[in-house]
């Protein structure tokens, strides 16, 4: 077990929110077609409120802090927030589209000791990337930002969200990342909007395309290992936790709402009315999330994929129940291994089992 895993175990044992994702704004200068946020400002926390939240997180033991949005640099006080975060010695990662990062911003991030900057790139072709962001010239500006950040010695990662609009583009983005000397991550997950609107799910890539991604050695490494059938689950799996959301991780909106995770919009408290530590320790919602073990999942506990599935409780929650299946993850498990999930088999049975005797009028 690595030192980092040991620390995670320790944090879990002690109930410490080791990693927090804080969206400082939902405002954005891009209008990405797959974005799950509403970009209007409904009363963001002030600089002083955010600094106070950071102090509370430091007191609670948070070590990893992700600052994201919206676009973080839409806040004029972003560097004041970042400076405060670093003064409180968080390990800070920034998620940004980069279009407002020039040499001065990159230098400031380096001087403040930012751990990593993650920039979203959808294609190495401007006509495809810019059509997704709906901001003309955005690819060029994002690539320039990566170069500025790299020239300052910062660690940069390209995040490539895969959807119907850019399905054929990942090899080009991966090559671009290699040419720029930065890390590359691919994510085929499109989530419903944070208000529950599912219209953007039409952008999810098809099962056949997911299959080709999972069987591409340039993306997954050892295909045989990645796509291996799941081993039979043992007691340790059935007693296991679904993920770190609400256990060692939390998400905070620009309005001070606390959720278990950015993909798990279960309102658990608000920092304008309560202290973070009180929400973290006493919220009935977070306690409910923490009570769930794999054996408690009515459908998934019967599934052969239970030990290896990437089931996201947040996506399950948005689908109807945090104890239910996440269909998107069922599809991933199926496309990875060729074995349908218990949820897929259940749905197939429901679709094929009609009444035994059907009486229809004869059209004459």
């Amino acid at each position: 077990m690595s030192l980092m895993q040991q620390m995670n175990e320790r944090a879990l044992e002690l109930g410490v929110p080791l990693g927090v994702h804080l969206d400082v704004t939902y405002r954005c200068n891009e209008r990405c077609i797959h974005c799950y946020l509403d970009h209007d400002d409904h009363g963001e926390m002030t600089t002083a409120e955010i600094k106070d939240v950071l102090d509370q997180l430091a007191e609670a033991g948070t070590f990893f802090l992700t600052l994201s949005g919206g676009e973080v640099l839409m806040r004029r006080d972003f560097f004041a927030i970042l400076e405060h975060a670093r003064r409180r010695l968080f390990n800070v990662r920034i998620k940004t589209n980069g279009v407002m990062i020039h040499e001065a911003e990159a230098r400031r991030m380096r001087d403040l000791g930012v751990e990593q900057v993650q920039i979203s790139i959808y294609s190495n072709h401007p006509e495809i990337h810019d059509a997704i962001t709906k901001l003309p010239g955005s690819l060029k500006r994002s690539i320039e930002a990566i170069r500025f950040l790299k020239s300052q010695g910062l660690k940069v990662a390209i995040a490539n969200v895969l959807m119907t609009a850019n399905m054929g583009e990942h090899a080009g983005v991966q090559a671009l990342a290699a040419a720029l000397g930065v890390n590359y991550t691919l994510d085929p997950t499109i989530t419903p909007k944070i208000d529950g609107d599912t219209s953007i799910l039409d952008l999810r890539i098809s099962g056949a395309e997911l299959n080709s991604v999972f069987h591409n050695k340039n993306l997954v490494g050892n295909v045989e290992e990645f796509c291996a059938p799941p081993p039979p689950p043992g007691d340790d799996i059935m007693e296991g936790l679904p993920c770190s959301a609400g256990h060692t991780a939390a998400y905070i909106t620009p309005y001070g709402d606390v959720f278990p995770c950015v993909q798990f919009p279960l309102p658990s408290g608000n920092l304008r009315r309560q202290k973070f530590i009180d929400i973290w320790r006493d919220s009935p919602e977070l306690k409910d999330v923490r009570s769930i073990r794999a054996k408690d999942l009515p459908v998934c506990s019967t599934c052969s994929h239970v030990g290896t599935c990437t089931r996201c409780p947040g996506l399950a929650y948005m689908e109807g129940s945090m104890r239910g299946p996440s269909s998107a993850d069922c599809e991933k498990s199926f496309q990875r291994t060729g074995m349908p999930s218990a949820n897929m088999l259940r749905k197939a049975r429901a679709n094929t089992s009609g009444p035994l005797i059907q009486i229809q009028s004869l059209a004459v």
Binding site: G61, N91, V92, G113, E115
Partner: protein, 102 residues
């Protein structure tokens, strides 16, 4: 032997977790956990107090250890962390105060 002064770098992230200090270098992402004695030295690394005094005041007085062994261990600890630029070492006091101790 000349005196050593130690200061915490600004290019680190740090937090106490269950009595141990987690420290990560922003320069090379090296991750350390410091035990109780090392944490005491880390927290006292204000850039102005000589290492010998830190060892005498924060280690020998609070932990059951021989002064000579404590001094050797402290020197080794400081050498290792300074190689990763997590601790800064100088033979004279630092002018600017270091970052908070987390």
């Amino acid at each position: 032997m000349s005196e050593k002064y130690i200061a915490r770098s600004t290019a680190i992230a740090a937090r106490m977790l269950g009595g141990e200090m987690m420290v990560m270098s922003a320069v090379d992402s090296t991750f350390f956990t410091l035990n109780e004695v090392a944490t005491a030295i880390w927290q006292a690394a204000d850039g102005r107090t000589p290492l010998s005094e830190i060892v005498a005041r924060y280690v020998c007085e609070n932990f059951d250890v021989e002064p000579e062994i404590a001094r050797c261990d402290a020197e080794q600890f400081v050498d290792e962390l300074s190689q990763h630029r997590i601790l800064l070492v100088s033979d004279h006091p630092f002018e600017n105060p270091p970052v908070e101790a987390a």
